[in-house]
């Protein structure tokens, strides 16, 4: 590595006829870090292609980069990609074949000014920072499916298409986000105080096409990670690289229709965009119809040492859900594989969010502040147990079982801010970074869960009714030190203070020695009939101290070894809060060691990672179908290995990952149910211009993308295992100039599989006279094959 953070790198860059960089090779090295920085930067550039006459041709140019210490920002610890604004190099001269046009360009170095956000410094092998790039062509129905790009992720959904995916990450059953901190552009997605489960994180409001970058950290190794980062965290960055207006229409199986309109400023300013999506489907089985609309717009700009970003999102959806089926009923032919017991199930969800962020550099100090606001009404209708839970109580008039359909609603308002100050100092001949930051979030949530009568759908029982005011104030210190060229020490400490103020509007639901009868759910009497108000207020707090750190050794010829340690927490679900001085919270300790290898091998870029990890959680959460929510269980430990490989070149991008994990309860060593111990995923795309005719001088473009998912047999309660899952998704398209047409298919092999499986007690009147009260196998059906026709036009005059 060059001393004093200065170096010169000369790249040999191949520019395609579309103006994109199809290859970049190092002609003169300035050190591995600078080489990567230069390559990453130039890959974001877009050129005016060289032309012979009126015809665009491939060209090759030599571009020298000179890295010098900038006035305000020290040596980036990670390649400074993507530059939001880059100089457009001179147009190469035409040539009959790929030609070295260095002479035309001259040998004067180009001074590169990098704007935009530098990528965070890696915290170890399990810190996955993934440019989605061409892999966006792999069929994905939601933004959550991008998580599959990292090892150990398996997604299920038993609540319908508007329901957040249940995420399994590296041995965790994170349910709908309870154990993963989700953010988009730094704005929180997890719902604190959500009636379905604290930390519920629904990413369906994110238009998948707009996901440009994903950072998933498996474990809690970065002090910036906050509440819910028990299994890890996932941050989505958004962007749209195609300039002008893109209109995309999809129609296919099950009367599915989708219209998508996108606007962007092009690759160099991809962070500025606007998009709107409208989607409708009749669903692939009974009670699966739904519709949604989503809009997102982001504006990024700035000048000099200031950068701003505004993001606004809006989303509304209404979907039906089939829920679970009993295996014995399906095998006996009492109900179909894609049918439902209760067609009233479903979800209505909306979300509006605003975020504003300002980053300024003053000398060696970079200050960033972000404010955000989220409004989130949501309603769930779920029936996991049929007719099981409606007990006749002494106070009630006589009644039969009225059914277990849960009607759960939450209205949440979130206000918050986060910020940091990062100071760069020269020490040991290298740049050293220190950062202090804060996080402030307030949630105001009203939640109610009732049960509805099976015949009339009238609510007959209030199970919970709470008004919550929840606050999280976090502070952290983080250091990014390089005492030696091959040694990086990164980490610090974070503290979070959680405060809870919960008003339980239904605090009394049963009374010994009642004074009068009542069919009401929330009673206003104490024993012997003494009157009281039915509510009770509880306030409490919890304070966490979270040390986190990583050591990275290397790179040595592309190989980096790392070791990481950290603690993460999940705040208490408001429903469990009692009056007290301190409220406990779930705490996880993660440890791992790993190796990563990154190397440019000719025209191919290769990345390999392997990590071995252990995570201990003191209070795990397991979903209870009878409670209809997550309930506390004991301490647990996960030990395993994640493996990742990505191979990319000018016309392909291949990514594969495989995870093995052993997740057990600490007290008896038994496996944690439902957590898959083997997960494998492959994403691949091949793309480029097709040989042959070039109508009107424009080449034909071709693309073929596939996603393969394998999930081993998951452990289920009572010593059983689920079925394996193996699915193939495929997308193909052909394009010319401003139009693309393609076919995509999900579950191409049309495998009939069970997306999720459970063992628990339910009574769906399988036996018309007698309740079933012992555990039985339940499942939610996986989607059958679906085929879609996709058409897109790009109204920018450049394609």
């Amino acid at each position: 590595m060059a001393s004093n953070a200065e170096a010169t790198v000369v790249l040999l860059v191949t520019v395609g006829i579309d103006g994109n960089v199809s290859d970049a090779a190092v002609a003169e090295s300035g050190g591995e870090l600078f080489d990567h920085a230069a390559i990453d930067a130039v890959k974001q550039w877009r050129f005016n292609p060289a032309r012979r006459g009126n015809e665009a041709v491939v060209s090759r140019i030599r571009i020298p980069f000179r890295f010098s210490r900038p006035a305000v920002e020290a040596l980036p610890s990670a390649p400074p990609t993507p530059p939001a604004v880059t100089p457009v190099p001179p147009q190469p001269e035409p040539s009959s074949a790929p030609t070295d046009v260095a002479a035309e360009l001259g040998q004067e170095p180009i001074d590169v000014t990098v704007k935009g956000q530098p990528r965070p410094a890696s915290r170890g092998t399990s810190d996955f920072q993934i440019e989605v790039g061409a892999l966006s062509a792999v069929p994905r129905e939601s933004a959550a499916e991008f998580l599959k790009l990292v090892p150990g992720v398996f997604l299920t959904n038993d609540g319908g298409e508007a329901h957040a995916e249940q995420v399994f990450l590296r041995g965790f059953d994170a349910r709908e986000g309870q154990d993963i901190e989700f953010t988009v552009a730094g704005m929180p997605i997890n719902d604190s105080g959500n009636v379905h489960g604290n930390g519920y994180a629904d990413t369906h409001f994110i238009i998948p096409e707009l996901v440009s970058y994903l950072r998933v950290m498996e474990g809690s190794y970065d002090p910036r990670q906050g509440n819910y980062a028990v299994a890890g965290s996932a941050d989505y960055e958004l962007g749209w690289a195609i300039p002008g207006i893109t209109a995309k229409y999809t129609q296919g199986s099950f009367q599915t229709k989708r219209l998508l309109l996108l606007w962007g400023r092009g690759r160099a300013e991809r962070e500025t965009f606007a998009g709107i999506e409208i989607y409708e489907t009749q669903g692939w089985g009974e009670s699966r119809a739904g519709r949604r609309a989503s809009a997102m717009a982001q504006l990024v700009g700035g000048s000099g040492a200031h950068r701003y970003r505004f993001l606004v999102t809006g989303y509304t959806a209404s979907f039906r859900s089939a829920g679970v089926l009993r295996e014995d009923d399906v095998l006996a032919g009492r109900i179909g594989f894609f049918s439902t017991y209760d067609p009233r199930q479903g979800e209505d969800a909306s979300r509006i969010s605003l975020s504003g962020e300002l980053t300024s550099r003053v000398g060696a100090l970079t200050i960033s502040n972000q404010v955000f606001a989220v409004a989130r009404p949501i309603r769930f209708l779920e029936n996991f147990t049929g007719f099981l839970l409606d007990f006749q109580t002494d106070l009630q008039r006589l009644h039969p079982q009225r059914g277990d359909l849960i009607d759960a609603t939450s209205t949440e308002w979130t206000l918050g801010a986060r910020g940091s100050g990062r100071l760069s100092r020269e020490l040991f001949g290298r740049s050293q970074l220190l950062e202090a930051g804060y996080y402030l979030r307030g949630d105001f949530a009203s939640s109610q869960r009732t049960r509805l009568d099976a015949g009339s759908s009238a609510p007959y029982k209030i199970e919970t009714d709470t008004d919550s005011r929840l606050f999280d104030m976090g502070l952290y210190l983080d250091a990014n030190l390089r005492p030696l060229p091959w040694l990086a020490l990164r980490g610090g400490i974070r503290g979070d203070l959680f405060t809870f103020d919960v008003k339980n509007n239904c605090a009394v639901q049963s009374v010994r020695s009642p004074g009068r009868s009542s069919d009401a759910s929330c009673l206003d009497q104490e024993p012997f009939g003494f009157r009281r108000e039915p509510f009770q207020r509880y306030s409490s707090f919890g304070l966490s101290h979270l040390p986190r750190g990583s050591i990275l050794l290397g790179p040595f010829f592309g190989l980096t070894a790392s070791a990481s340690y950290g603690r993460g927490v999940r705040s208490m679900d408001p429903i469990y809060v009692g009056q007290g001085l301190q409220t406990p919270f779930a705490s996880a300790v993660s440890r791992e060691v790993g190796l990563s290898f990154n190397r440019q091998l000719g025209l191919v870029e290769l990345g390999l990672r392997s990590a071995w990890f252990q995570t201990r959680v003191d209070q795990d959460l397991i979903f209870s179908q009878t409670a209809g929510r997550n309930i506390n269980s004991g301490a647990s430990t996960r030990v395993g290995s994640t493996n990742f490989a990505r191979l990319s070149g000018s016309f392909f991008d291949l990514l594969a990952n495989f995870t093995y994990v052993n997740a057990t309860f600490n007290d008896d060593g038994l496996l944690i149910p439902y957590v898959p111990d083997r997960v494998a995923r492959f994403d691949g795309v091949v793309y480029g211009d097709l040989p042959g005719p070039r109508p009107l001088g424009f080449p034909l473009r071709g693309l073929l993308a596939t996603g393969l998912t394998y999930v081993g047999r998951r452990p289920l309660p009572y010593g059983e295992r689920s079925n394996t899952i193996f699915t193939v998704d495929l997308n193909s398209s052909i394009g010319w100039s401003w139009i693309d047409i393609g076919l995509s298919a999900t579950n191409l092999l049309d495998r009939r599989y069970r997306l999720s499986e459970y063992n628990y007690v339910s009574d769906f009147h399988s036996n018309p006279l007698l309740p079933t009260l012992v555990p039985a196998r339940h499942f939610t059906a996986g989607a059958p094959r679906a085929v879609f026709l996709n058409a897109a036009i790009h109204l920018d005059g450049q394609r």
């Binding site: 007990f391 290995s641 063992n759």
Partner: protein, 270 residues
């Protein structure tokens, strides 16, 4: 323990292709179920002396059982309104098939369906005397008990017959207006807790023995009303209008009337 170490080893080296034999614990099981009269000499079963010195000779005794549930909690009770009629605890076994048991036969009469449950220790049982309706529906005309015979005391003979049902005729009014739901019909139909102490395992046999003598232990046959259609025979009525009928009903709904035995698949009696 060895298996767990192997799995940890696999995880350590990333060699995840081999299988691990760890488990979440427990198992779901299937077992056979049957019911019979007492395990006595066939000639002795119909003849017994009750507590009021009646020598009873049964010519017929049939008991209708709707279902059996086995629970891990020995103190399940339908009296606790926190758990409703299911009695709380954790159900670890169930037999969901109705059977009309000939109480005068000692030979096991199989239920029409296999039982199912989980590998666990059963400590209490609930016998459901249900018929044509779900347990919480009041109207049900199913005959639960059908008996006939002769009782003798002090040289007097009391031919008798009768049927019991548990429907609207057995609905009890609440003694306290503050607790209108204290006596739902399901509590009349569920007999619990019946003692059992058996480790349920796959392929085992659950045998229920019902001693008809227990049904008549407190019945004063001389107080039974005569049948309107057959004046030579006394009859148990479906209504709650005489003490002998109530005593017979008490016998039917008493946990002491029922005795469970478990035989594992290997034939080891528990």
């Amino acid at each position: 323990m060895k298996s767990r170490a192997l799995c940890l080893g696999l995880a350590l080296f990333g060699l995840a292709l081999a299988g691990c034999n760890q488990t979440t614990g427990g198992a779901r099981i299937s077992f056979r179920a049957a019911a019979a009269g007492p395990d006595l000499d066939p000639a002795e079963i119909p003849r017994f002396l009750n507590n009021l010195a009646y020598q009873v000779t049964l010519s017929g005794a049939t008991l209708h059982i709707g279902a059996i549930y086995l629970n891990a909690n020995p103190s399940i009770s339908t009296a606790n309104d926190q758990f409703g009629c299911y009695g709380g605890g954790r159900v670890v076994g169930q037999v969901l098939g109705a059977l009309d048991i000939d109480l005068l036969s000692r030979e096991p009469q199989p239920f029409p369906v296999h039982g199912e449950g989980t590998e666990w220790q059963a400590r209490a049982a609930a016998v459901w005397l249900t018929g044509t309706q779900r347990v919480d529906i009041t109207q049900d005309s199913q005959v639960i008990l059908n008996v006939a015979g002769v009782a003798e005391r002090a040289g007097q003979r009391y031919p008798f017959a009768g049927e019991l049902t548990i429907g609207a005729n057995r609905l009890r009014p609440s003694p306290n207006p503050a607790t209108p739901g204290i006596y739902p019909i399901c509590k009349e139909r569920i007999v619990a807790p019946v003692l059992i102490d058996a480790r349920l395992t796959d392929g085992g046999l659950l045998l229920l023995r019902v001693d008809p003598a227990e049904l008549f232990r407190l019945v004063d046959f001389s107080s039974l009303p005569l049948s309107e259609t057959n004046p030579t025979t006394r009859t148990f009525s479906k209504a709650r209008d005489n003490a002998p009928t109530e005593h017979l009903y008490t016998g039917v709904t008493s946990p002491q009337t029922y005795r469970f035995l478990w035989q594992s698949a290997e034939g080891v009696a528990r």
